[in-house]
Amino acid sequence: MRRVLRRREIVADNWRHLEEDPGAASGTHGVIVPLQELRANFSAWSARPGPLGVRIAPADKVEDLTAELERCALIAVEFPNPSEGRGYTHGRLLRTRRGFAGELRAVGAAVKRDIIFALARCGFDAFEVASGEDLEACAQALQRYTVAYQAGAPGSLNLRRRIYA
């Protein structure tokens, strides 16, 4: 079973992506469904007994998430390559503007130790790291900086020289 970094702990992943588990519609484990598929068959997915997550791509607009946000316990945001930066804004907006309190997970080939710290500062609390990447090193990367000039998400956003633990 895949392991992920969640809330600073390395844990077995109790979620599966739809592509990994085509029979997920009736299961009781967590399943992460691409936004387009979730939209297309929302009432069916919504009625699923198990936990539901949604995966959004860089070009998706988080403003458009409405009923999905209510129903989903997890949002996965894609970071397919190192130069793709839209997901950072998705994270910030989901946490601060949309008030999403569930698991915010970074997924994709770019999710490696060198971007973990910034992702966490944008509100991500779970990391499904790139294949081959060292999860232990990713966990350590969360401690890489002890200071920052910007306020992080979630929480207070009006302190510029905040020191956070």
């Binding site: 860089p58 601060t96 060198d114 900086y145």
Partner: protein, 551 residues
Amino acid sequence: MYRYDDIDQTLVAERVNEFRDQTRRYLAGELSEDDFRPLRLRNGLYIQRHAPMLRIAIPYGLLSATQLRKLGDIAHRYDRDYGHFTTRQNLQLNWPTLASVPDILAELATVQMHAIQTSGNCVRNVTADHLAGVAPDELDDPRPYCEIIRQWATLHPEFTYLPRKFKIAVTGSPADRAASEVHDVGLHMRRDAGGAIGFEVLVGGGLGRAPAIGQVIRDFLPLKDLLSYLEAILRVYNRYGRRDNIHKARIKVLVKSLGTAQFRDEVEAEWRAASADAPQLALAEVERVRAFFTPPPYESLADIDVTADREPEFRAWYRYNTRAHRVPGYRAAFVSLKAHGRPPGDMTSAQMAALATLAEEMSFGLIRVAHDQNLLLADVRQQDLYATWLALRREGLATANIGMLTDMIACPGLDFCGLANAGTISVARDIQQRFDNLDYLYDLGEIEIKMSGCMNACGHHHVGHIGILGVEKHGEEWYQITLGGSVNGFTALGEVIGPSVPQRAVPETIERIIEVYRERRDDGERLIDTYRRVGLAPFKERVYASRAQAA
């Protein structure tokens, strides 16, 4: 100037550790070239033609004597005894080894310097007027706000992977010595009716491919909203800027494609939506930073005539290389990095050390970097100007050509840069040789030549009175000439004069342009004024007619 506290110092130290780890992993083969590239670029490290190039940040162009001495020392120990000052007020080292870069960064951290975000698709070094705080025409000193922006932008978690690089310039003077209108964001300081500080906000300026002049999207932004508004601009850009084509990824392309009005509406809507959670600038923090920029302890002096009975060389230097100061009895003195025969912007370790000492003696221990690749001692007592000149002259830093034709801007070009199509240093040298007579230069008056070795326009060629752009043609180095560009309060992009010319023909082409100017100028008219009055045609005709006859 701003001094690091514990937070600032801790941050650069942690950054050094992070980069040391990344470099170690790369050298050990644990990090691929593709993975290392964006990491090193965000730290100003390029792999160039001959060696890595490290770009060191000089925030808004302000250096202490201690810092300049350290830069000279680093250039001596880790490089070939010199550095290159750039149009972004930074310093580039052309020959460090990759393995030594973490040590260089650690050395920089000891004098409160770093190379964070001097490259990469992120917010770059914030630049400002080199006469900030001393110019008589200034509304207020922009540097405290530059420092606040520097801190806010440093390792900003949301805006680390923008579609493309992002450059901000701030000016407190209508003369706009910071070229702010050709930046992604230009901030012009303003006061409202009650006297409170704010900013006019321009967006979408930039050089490089498809150069554009910044458009005003806000007439007056209150100071407390400075960071939240910048966040709104960057968030709109981060979400909607193009990522499919590197040549169309700058914010200027987004502004053009949406139109200025719609872009402004998007920013304003984002800004209003974010008002609940956006960072308002804490005024206590503004005061804390402003306190670092209070004027130095000027003496109470009167203006005096320092040129009487002095030699003509000093009088020329005084006239061309010094500028008025808002405090009586003082002047700002340029340190020319445009000695004929030297690459524009280059400075040796020995010159850096000597200038550091001179700054301690003569100018409160501070040095400025101007975007036109000269340095400046901003606070020299007029009675010390002669001694300052003698000291600068000993070091080869007193060429009295500031603002003249040989005070050229030039990027490092093909000799160093992996992006360049053509050389710049040898062309600059040929032009300097052709126009080596200072009295002739003084007769020609103010002429700005700006040269880039490729379309990326690090040498600002679009806004040179005469712009020179290196292009590659059948494997040879050719040069496209433009006329009529300018910044400094009246921003215009130059017009291409005609087909590009081979390298050997560049000095002659410049000379033909100068000939037309000398024949056509009215009294007191600069080249740029004559060009605006008579247009491109007479220049074009002469340049190409003469080439045809010569052939």
